[in-house]
């Protein structure tokens, strides 16, 4: 029995669904049809609801479909025996019950039949038609209207909208690089242009209407270029030559109605060819035995094409004023390449390259830039043909240098040596240490002797004791001459015999009292120095130094004695203070010996300033001497501070007022000139400022960036110090306080 009921309800629901579908389709078709012709949405909706109602009436959507369902089941299923009506009987009699049971048994395996109204195609076709009209009609209209009138967008607008300021709709930038570059044409909505300089830029800007509209291209300095109006778009074409910034401004009846962000124009220069010679040696010698052809190679490249490459070689011959030059251009077979390695052999024979000649050559290349190609040349290379027949002076000059004495022991050197010895005393053996100490002692002695003779001290061998100098030093000549060998102009070595007689011409002083004829007894060093020192046979009486200098020198010698003593005793540590003292005395003796002469000149009497000042005559003087100046230059720091305040003040979706906008604009124009000079690094700040001007909201990140970047421009150099709270107190109290606090 349930199965029977199930079938009936299934069919009934199918009927309802079909009816509902038909109604909806009808309503939808009416909606589409109406919306093509009527522009008011409520009317269209009302129309479609009415259509729905009418079709609902015809399809009997809201009536009970039980009977229809039963009728349909009777039609579709044969076994029902037209007895389904019995189901509605309230109290069936026995016959009816039996029939019902039979029916249930028969229908138990039956499926719910599908009942689709055959007339459903009508609304479907109606919908298809109305869809066709909905989409097709505007196309037809467009074609029709395109023919008679130009400017469909304007025509679409009502006069009210034409009275409103035009609204920016789109902008397109087409970049056409120069033909020689072979780069593709770029076109897009991005108005930031970055192209090879010489590219043609074409802007196409569209507005919703163009009545009374003038469009300008403006740079950061406010200079403007006018767009050309073609039909419904504005066009401007120009050639990109240098880097800069621009914005598009639209004026409508003398008022600025649109201003774009600042966009970047970046002119990428066409670089000159690059030449990278293989040889890094700029200066080379060529010898007789070398081959007479030189292989040179270089890598030449360009960002586009190299049209021509060559070598310029110059041969220089002769010397002094008689130099002749010959220039030859050696072309290279490769041409019109982007990058290649060029090898060329230079035939020196052909160039008539002879010994003593010089060859200079360099690489050159042109690229394909038009109208003026770029040109590059490499470093100049030198090849010098060595002329072996000449000896050069420079070589001889160096020979003389080697005669210098290798070492000269000064007091300072002795100190250094001693310190060195002390420092490494731990590392070396006792024997070595002792011998080094002894050697320094010898040096000290030699120095002492050298200074000693200036004081007329007797020389070593004239003292009764043994010869302190090492044996070898005393061999033929004596120590003194050895010591000073490097310093004296010893022309006549080995002519000691005539020494006494052969005195230098310039020295006409008579040393008559010098003991002659006793070469054994004579101080040999003194003999050498005789010509230089002014010693009147008596050391003590010589007039070389004044008394104080002599005493200083004597004190120095004393210290030297002590120092030598300790050095000889292998106690360099103890010797060191004496050495230092000696040095000190020597230095002060040197200073003493110098003479300073004070320059005498006119020494004016001091001016009594107070008396003299302002006592001039004041006849021709303008008494009301006063003038004003004011610094009207932009105070950027203040402007930045104000803009920072504005950034924090601006709430989302709120427009800036006139003054605020003015401030941001001022900073923007200042910054843009700065950006120009700083090669577009502050770019982001500028575009953010522009966003502010255009009343767009900044995201939190953008705000932070802007604030951080602007902070750097505040130039706050006020040091952190005490607080400077401005507060005015009671004058009397304050006075009393400060009076009593002291």
């Amino acid at each position: 029995m349930n199965q029977v009921k199930h079938i009936i309800s299934g069919v009934r629901y199918q009927l309802y669904a079909t009816a509902l579908l038909a109604c909806s389709l009808t309503a939808l078709s009416v909606f589409l049809l109406l919306s093509v012709f009527i522009h008011s949405l409520p009317l269209v909706i009302i129309g479609s609801i009415i259509a729905f109602g009418i079709s609902a009436y015809y399809t009997r959507l809201f009536t009970d479909k039980q009977n229809d369902a039963i009728r349909l089941i009777h039609e579709k299923i044969d076994d029902t025996e037209y007895s389904l009506q019995l189901l509605t009987v309230n109290e069936p009699n026995i016959a009816e019950q039996l029939q019902l049971e039979r029916l249930a048994a028969k229908l138990s395996n039956q499926k719910t039949p599908a009942v689709i109204n055959s007339r459903l195609w009508i609304p479907v076709i109606a919908l298809a038609l109305s869809l066709g009209i909905y989409f097709g009609y505007p196309l037809i209209r467009q074609n029709q209207s395109a023919n008679p009138a130009v400017g469909s967008t304007t025509n679409n607008l009502s006069p009210e909208e034409l009275a409103k300021p035009p609204v920016f709709s789109s902008a397109k930038l087409t970049i056409t690089p120069p033909a020689y570059t072979g780069l593709p044409v770029k076109s897009g909505e991005d108005l930031n242009a970055s192209a090879i300089s010489g590219s043609t830029l074409k802007w196409q800007v569209e507005f919703n209407h163009t009545n009374d509209l003038a469009l300008k291209l403006s740079n950061n300095r406010g200079e403007e270029l006018t767009f050309k109006k073609t039909a419904e778009t504005f066009e401007y074409t120009d050639i990109l030559q240098s880097t800069g910034l621009y914005a598009i401004k639209a004026y409508w009846r003398d008022s600025l109605v649109y201003q774009s962000d600042y966009y970047r124009l970046e002119a990428i220069p066409d670089l000159a060819p690059k030449i990278d010679p293989a040889s890094k040696e700029l200066y080379k010698f060529h010898f007789l035995k070398d081959p007479k052809t030189i292989q040179v190679s270089a890598r030449i490249s360009d960002d586009f094409l190299v049209t021509q490459a060559f070598i310029i070689a110059t041969v220089a011959r002769g010397s002094g004023e008689n130099v002749k030059f010959r220039e030859i251009k050696l072309p290279i077979s490769q041409a019109n390449f982007k990058e290649t390695t060029v090898t060329k052999s230079i035939d020196l024979k052909a160039l008539n390259f002879a010994p003593g000649d010089e060859l200079y050559y360099y690489w050159g290349a042109f690229d394909n830039k038009k109208p003026e190609p770029n040109y590059t040349k490499s470093d100049t290379y030198f090849i010098v043909y060595k002329d072996t027949s000449k000896t050069e002076e420079a070589e001889m000059a160096t020979m003389a240098m080697n005669i210098l004495p290798e070492y000269f022991r000064s007091q300072r050197q002795i100190i250094i040596d001693t310190e060195k010895l002390i420092a490494k005393s731990k590392k070396i053996t006792q024997k070595e240490f002792n011998s080094t100490s002894n050697e320094i002692g010898f040096d000290q002695k030699a120095l002492r002797l050298r200074y000693g003779q200036y004081l007329g001290e007797e020389f070593e061998n004239s003292i009764g004791g043994g010869n302190p100098l090492p044996e070898e030093a005393t061999g033929g000549s004596n120590m003194g001459s050895d010591l000073l060998k490097g310093f004296v102009h010893a022309h006549d070595e080995g002519e000691h015999d005539h020494e006494d007689g052969a005195k230098p011409q310039g020295h006409d002083h008579d040393h008559g009292s010098a003991p002659k004829g006793n070469p054994d007894n004579e101080d040999p060093l003194a003999a050498i120095l005789k010509d230089y020192v002014h010693s009147h046979d008596d050391g003590e009486a010589n007039t070389f130094y004044e008394q104080s200098t002599r005493s200083l020198l004597k004190m120095a010698l004393e210290q030297m004695w002590q120092s030598e003593l300790h050095l000889r005793l292998y106690e360099p540590e103890k010797a060191l203070p004496f050495e230092k003292k000696a040095l000190e005395f020597l230095k002060s003796a040197q200073q003493k010996a110098r003479t300073f002469v004070k320059k005498t000149s006119f020494d004016p009497p001091p001016i009594k300033e107070k008396e003299k000042r302002m006592t001039g005559e004041l006849n021709k003087f303008n008494e009301a001497f006063s003038y004003e100046k004011s610094f009207s230059q932009q105070q950027v720091e203040r402007l930045v501070a104000e803009v920072l305040g504005i950034v924090d003040t601006k709430v989302d979706a709120q427009k800036l007022n006139g003054i605020q906008k003015q401030k941001v604009l001022m900073l923007g124009s200042y910054m843009s000139s700065k950006v120009m000079n700083s090669k577009l690094t502050d770019w982001s700040v500028l575009s953010l400022l522009q966003k502010l001007i255009n009343d767009k909201d900044l995201s939190a990140d953008e705000k932070a960036t802007l604030k951080t970047r602007l902070y750097q421009l505040t130039g706050m150099s006020v040091p952190k110090g005490s607080l400077n709270t401005s507060y005015e107190g009671n004058k009397k109290l304050e006075k009393a306080f400060w009076k009593n606090i002291q």
Partner: protein
């Protein structure tokens, strides 16, 4: 009306609830007794269980009270955020007899309005107390023990309104459990920072106000924002600087131009010959004819000049530059202006080099009570009625010529900062300002004396300070958060009331007000207190009862 009140009172009282519970019990029993297919034993068990659960629910509604006696000599009132261990610690250390929570206190008060009279010394632990509680505590001996969890700001102050170029200071306290870095940031720029050690840290940040208008900076703890610091920075008033010179010199010319470029008005009076003066005005205001100098810059020889003396007496500032012979110069200044400059020679050289291209006279200024030195330079300011500055620097313009304009700026900006005399219309508001919390607004040295001030679209009365006739103040409670206007051009940021800072400020104010009415007499005795079972116990009991009811039919015995 009376009827509604009656209904309300009936609804609010628990009698309606008891009635419902009674009906529920009767229904339960009726339903149980109706279901006949139960053995007698099971029926009894079930009835017992039902009655038991009903009883628990009834008692929960009834809230029976347990009575006990306790010392109420010292009582701790805690806020619910304070952890139990900390409460116990405080209880032990103050030897308090009783610890009451906020809710418990309200309940006890509700039971017995005179309960409060019997309490002795009350310790408020934490700051989250309802105004009802605080209101009840008048005439009681109170001690506030604030409680802040770690990494929570305990105290924070800054200036709500500053002038551009003034130093904004942010002071506060925070306790941290680990080493952290506290930063004060403007957008991504760190203005000041401090490494916090474990424990309580007091921090002091300062930076010159660099904006004009509303400014938002953020206090961050390891990059986590802790508190936004809003302040309003307004345009500084330019100073009127007067140069009185014996003879024109390059140093003062440069300085005057620098001042001019920094938007100050400058007038230079130079004696160029006997009875002839040259006068240069920089940035002269077109309207004003008189030039009232705020700062006078002059040579020490002009210390006796009438204009200088007048300026000092009026509380303006005077700066002496170009000292040639400091020993005599200080003597002259001390005599003329009553200062007490004392200097000591430090070197026999003509001048000593302080930095590249910067030399000073070979003297040091000896310290004095009313004296403050400017940075590390040999410049100091002495405070009398006005401020008197003395610079021992030789010349500073070589700095500028050599391109070191930063140092030049630094020297003169700090001198000017310290020399600047008190300006008019100073608005002093200590931030943070909270909604619904009393805020003190002080206006010092107003240019127009008025007894009203408009703020946040409202007008309030100003009262003159008894001590300082130039100071006016008012207490105002802001009712709206966000930027609020103050007079015609200033703004003040009012923070949303949230967190411990606002609560502690409220308690502080309450305690301050309370001090006036504090009544030390208290009944120091043991008294009978009541307590109720905690809610969770009721919850457990009811759940247990319901579980038993659910389990009982499943068990077969």
């Amino acid at each position: 009306m009376t009827f509604t009140v009656l209904i309300l009172s009936v609804l609010q009282s628990k009698w309606l609830l008891y009635l419902c519970l009674g009906i529920v019990l009767l229904m339960q029993l009726w339903l149980l007794l109706r279901s006949a297919n139960l053995t007698k034993k099971r029926l009894w068990i079930r009835v017992c269980l039902n009655v038991l659960v009903w009883l628990v629910v009834f008692l929960f509604v009834f809230q029976p009270e347990l009575t006990y006696t306790s010392q109420t000599n010292k009582v701790i009132l805690t806020d619910s955020n304070v952890p139990k261990t900390y409460v116990q610690k405080v209880k032990d250390s103050v030897r308090a007899g009783e610890v009451l929570s906020n809710a418990e206190f309200i309940r006890l008060i509700g039971k017995n309005p005179h309960f409060i009279d019997q309490l002795g010394h009350i310790f408020l632990l934490g700051q989250n107390f309802s105004s009802e509680t605080l209101g009840r505590l008048s005439q009681k001996n109170l001690t506030w023990l604030p409680y802040f969890s770690a990494e929570q700001l305990q105290d924070l102050h800054w200036n709500g309104i500053v002038k551009k170029g003034d130093i904004q200071e942010v002071n506060g306290k925070i306790a941290v459990g680990d080493t952290h870095i506290l930063r004060l940031k403007y957008a991504n720029k760190v203005l000041d920072s401090l490494v916090l050690e474990k424990g309580l840290n007091a921090f002091h940040f300062s930076f010159p106000a660099f904006t004009i208008g509303r400014t938002e900076t953020t206090l961050t703890l390891d990059n986590e924002p802790l508190q936004h610091i809003h302040f309003y920075s307004h345009t500084p008033q330019p100073f009127n600087v007067l140069f009185i010179l014996q003879n024109p010199d390059f140093e003062s010319k440069n300085l005057s131009e620098w001042l001019g470029k920094n938007n100050h008005r400058v007038e230079i009076i130079t004696t160029i010959a006997k009875d002839a003066q040259s006068k240069v005005s920089i940035n002269k205001a077109s309207q004003s004819k008189t030039f009232n100098a705020d700062v006078v810059i002059t040579d020490p020889t002009n210390a006796t000049h009438a204009l200088v003396k007048k300026a000092v007496n009026e509380g303006k500032s005077v700066l002496f530059i170009n000292a040639m012979a400091p020993e005599q110069d200080t003597k002259v200044i001390n005599q003329a202006l009553g200062t007490n400059w004392r200097i000591k020679r430090t070197s026999n050289e003509q001048s000593v080099n302080i930095a590249d291209n910067l030399s000073a006279l070979p003297y040091t200024l000896e310290t004095s009570l009313n004296q403050q030195s400017v940075g590390t330079y040999p410049i100091a300011i002495q405070k009398k009625v006005g401020k008197i500055g003395l610079s021992l620097l030789n010349e500073t313009f070589p700095l500028k010529l050599s391109g070191d304009s930063l140092t030049y700026n630094k020297i003169w900006a700090s001198v000017l900062q310290q020399l600047s005399p008190a300006q008019s219309d100073n608005v002093l508001i200590q931030a943070p300002v909270f909604v619904n919390t009393q805020t003190s607004v002080t206006i010092n040295n107003p240019s127009v004396t008025t007894n009203k001030i408009t703020l946040a679209g409202d007008t309030t009365q100003l009262s003159q300070s008894a001590v300082n006739p130039l100071s006016f103040s008012t207490d105002y409670i802001f009712r709206q958060s966000g930027w609020q206007t103050l007079q015609d051009s200033l703004n003040i940021f009012v923070d949303e009331a949230s967190g411990g800072l606002q609560q502690s400020k409220q308690i502080q104010q309450m305690l301050l007000a309370h001090q006036k009415f504090e009544n030390n007499s208290s009944v120091a005795s043991a008294q009978v207190l009541t307590t109720t079972l905690p809610d969770w116990l009721w919850y457990v009991l009811i759940i247990l009862g319901l579980a038993a009811l659910w389990l009982e039919p499943k068990l077969s015995f």
